[in-house]
Amino acid sequence: MEDFVHVNIFATKGIEYLVVIAFLLAIIPFWRYLNSPGRLTASPVVSSIQDAIQKMVGSIPKGVFLDPTHSWTFLEPSGSARVGVDNFLLAATGPVNYSELRNTGDKITRGDVISVLEKEGKQLKVYSPISGTIERSNRKASNVNSSDSEFYDQGWLYKVRPTNWKQEVGRLLFARKAEEWIKAEFDRLKDFFAFSTGKYGYNPEMVILQDGGALAEQALDQFPAEIWVEFQAEFIDANKVD
């Protein structure tokens, strides 16, 4: 026993080392917990915002011009332009019915209401991205899903003979700018839902995290009419450029 040396853990600062090790071990789970999604987003139907953006952005074909009021147009080789509602709007609302469609031969000006999206009494007005004369309308547009690969081929609302294409197309977004804009709109949508839920005390199953969380597809579907009215003002009317 003569060789035995009593080690005083305080004198050797053993506990201090243990505290430091405990801190290093605790900081990782702490930070992971802090950054994990809140319990409100635990719904299995919630898909990640990144996936949704990827799907949208990847699906904008070349030659499609987006209007900031969430309509689109594409000039066909024949000189007619397809006009429709963009899939951001349709992803937010889910399947809708188009009402108040214009008739063939009607003259429309950029910014005119060309249709109303309807769902269980809730409505959104859609504006025309270009001016011209309506040559055809597509009554089957509501059958086309926003995530369909042929959305821009089949999901158009009108074929229009444009009267002021060159000037008006300059106000529309395309290619990289359109993609960046769509991403920004998704971020805005997350804020919008988070704020609206608080404002109306409404708590749907699928909600969105304010900071880095996930967004449910067809999220607008679950919200009451007041939020549709605000959505119209924030995402469609506020984006109108004459």
């Binding site: 600062k13 505290v19 702490f30 917990y33 802090l34 319990r39 409100l40 988070a194 608080g198």
Partner: protein, 416 residues
């Protein structure tokens, strides 16, 4: 344009600038608001007491003595005020160094707050100096005093005020419609920011280092050679809590200056800052624990001061940290704001425990500030808020960043 015309137009511009400045001096908004009714008498009383202090000396208005030369004015105004102003360096670090651009809309208001806090609270240092005129010595080299921590603090305060002034100056140039000056000042911002952050990390801890020499005077539960590190780490969550607290009030009081979009954006930023606060508090708690173990002072925890120490740690560090975390998890803004207020109270407690409450804790006659010291402290806070309000109502601080102002003449016409 001929030379005469150039001179004439320059004179006209200078004249219109003067007219504009004079028009801006006029009060805007209601005069008899509850805040004004409360603050004006206190400011007047405070100024009278400051006048008496300089006329008759420190002894006439304070309870300071040879044994307690630093009281409330240093403990609260300087030491606590500077911790609260820490938001400016944390936020500029997040925006300009980490490139977290989403915090950019609140940088200007935070930097303004930081600058004013240093100007007023560090300016309050002058009140506490027995011979205030000697304050110039470390600068002019009459006696640099390089072996003192005060040398570092003096230079840092001065340089940091300059750095925050440069960071904020593009807003002043926009206000005055001086486009060229704005561009030059804007170009200097990033340099000033990095300089400012470096200075801050050093003087936040430097303030703590000032108390290292008071080894036998501060209660052992608060005295440690790691005070500088604790001051620095706590300034991160103190500063951000101040940004959350002050931002919530500013966005409410000056609601008309802020767009609906910015209101929503601000709420989102609060959760981001709450997360940083929670992380910094977590590290701070471990540091406190480590220091408690290191100093081997746990026997003191069962005394009255021990209970006071535990209250500071449990009630004003652990509790707000939990509240910050819950607010993030539940998306509850109110919880974040409550946590921010508790944190601020905790910082006041901590700084006062070191500088006033735990200072000479075993003395037979304890220092208790006079009512006049408290009035002067309140007066300084109110004057700072008055200046802050004056700036907010006139300069592009809360409104959109890059929106350029109309020509001066338009503004004069509008003002008239």
């Amino acid at each position: 344009m001929s030379q005469i015309e150039t001179v004439a137009s320059a004179e006209a511009q200078a004249d219109s600038r003067w007219r504009f400045l004079l028009s801006e001096l006029k009060p805007k908004g209601k005069i008899f608001t509850p805040f004004n009714i409360v603050s004006v008498p206190i400011i007047i009383l405070g100024l009278i007491i400051i006048f008496i202090r300089f006329w008759k000396g420190l002894g006439a208005v304070t309870n300071l003595s040879q044994t307690v030369p630093w009281g409330l004015w240093i403990g609260f105004d300087v030491v606590t005020g500077v911790a609260f102003a820490g938001g400016a360096y944390v936020l500029t670090f997040m925006v300009y160094v980490l490139n977290l651009k989403k915090y950019e809309p609140i940088v200007r208001v935070t930097v303004l707050n930081g600058f004013l806090a240093y100007l007023f609270y560090a300016g309050a240092l002058l009140l506490d100096l027995g011979r205030p005129w000697n304050v110039i010595n470390p600068i002019i080299g009459n006696s640099f005093g390089t072996s003192s921590v005060l040398f570092l603090v003096a230079w840092h305060f001065m340089l940091y005020m300059l750095a925050t002034l440069i960071e904020f100056s593009p807003a002043v140039a926009e206000w005055l419609g001086m486009e060229r000056a704005r561009r030059i000042l804007k170009g200097m911002t990033i340099g000033a920011v990095i300089f400012g952050i470096t200075l801050s990390t050093l003087h936040q801890s430097g303030l703590g280092a000032l108390y290292l020499m008071a080894v036998d005077k501060i209660h052992p539960l608060w005295y440690t050679e790691f005070i500088p590190i604790l001051f620095f780490v706590s300034s991160i969550f103190a500063g951000l809590s101040m940004v959350i607290f002050e931002g919530s009030i500013t966005y409410r009081v000056f609601s008309e200056k802020v767009s609906d979009k910015d209101h929503k954006h601000h709420d989102k930023l609060i959760f981001g800052m709450a997360k940083v606060c929670a992380g910094a508090m977590f590290a701070y708690l471990f540091l406190k624990l480590l220091i408690l173990v290191h100093e081997q002072q746990w026997a003191l925890l069962s005394t009255g001061f021990g209970a006071w120490y535990l209250l500071e740690i449990v009630g004003f560090v652990i509790l707000p940290m939990i509240l910050f975390i819950s607010s993030i998890k539940q998306h509850n803004l109110v919880l974040s704001k409550i946590a921010a207020v508790l944190t601020l109270v905790g910082i006041i407690l901590n700084r006062l425990n070191i500088t006033v409450i735990g200072f000479h804790w075993d003395a037979a006659v304890r220092y208790v500030p006079t009512w006049m010291e408290i009035v002067v402290t309140l007066a300084i806070i109110f004057i700072e808020i008055w200046v802050f309000r004056w700036v907010i109502l006139r300069m592009p601080v809360l409104s959109k960043l890059s929106k350029y102002r109309k020509p001066l003449t338009h503004q004069i016409n509008e003002a008239e």
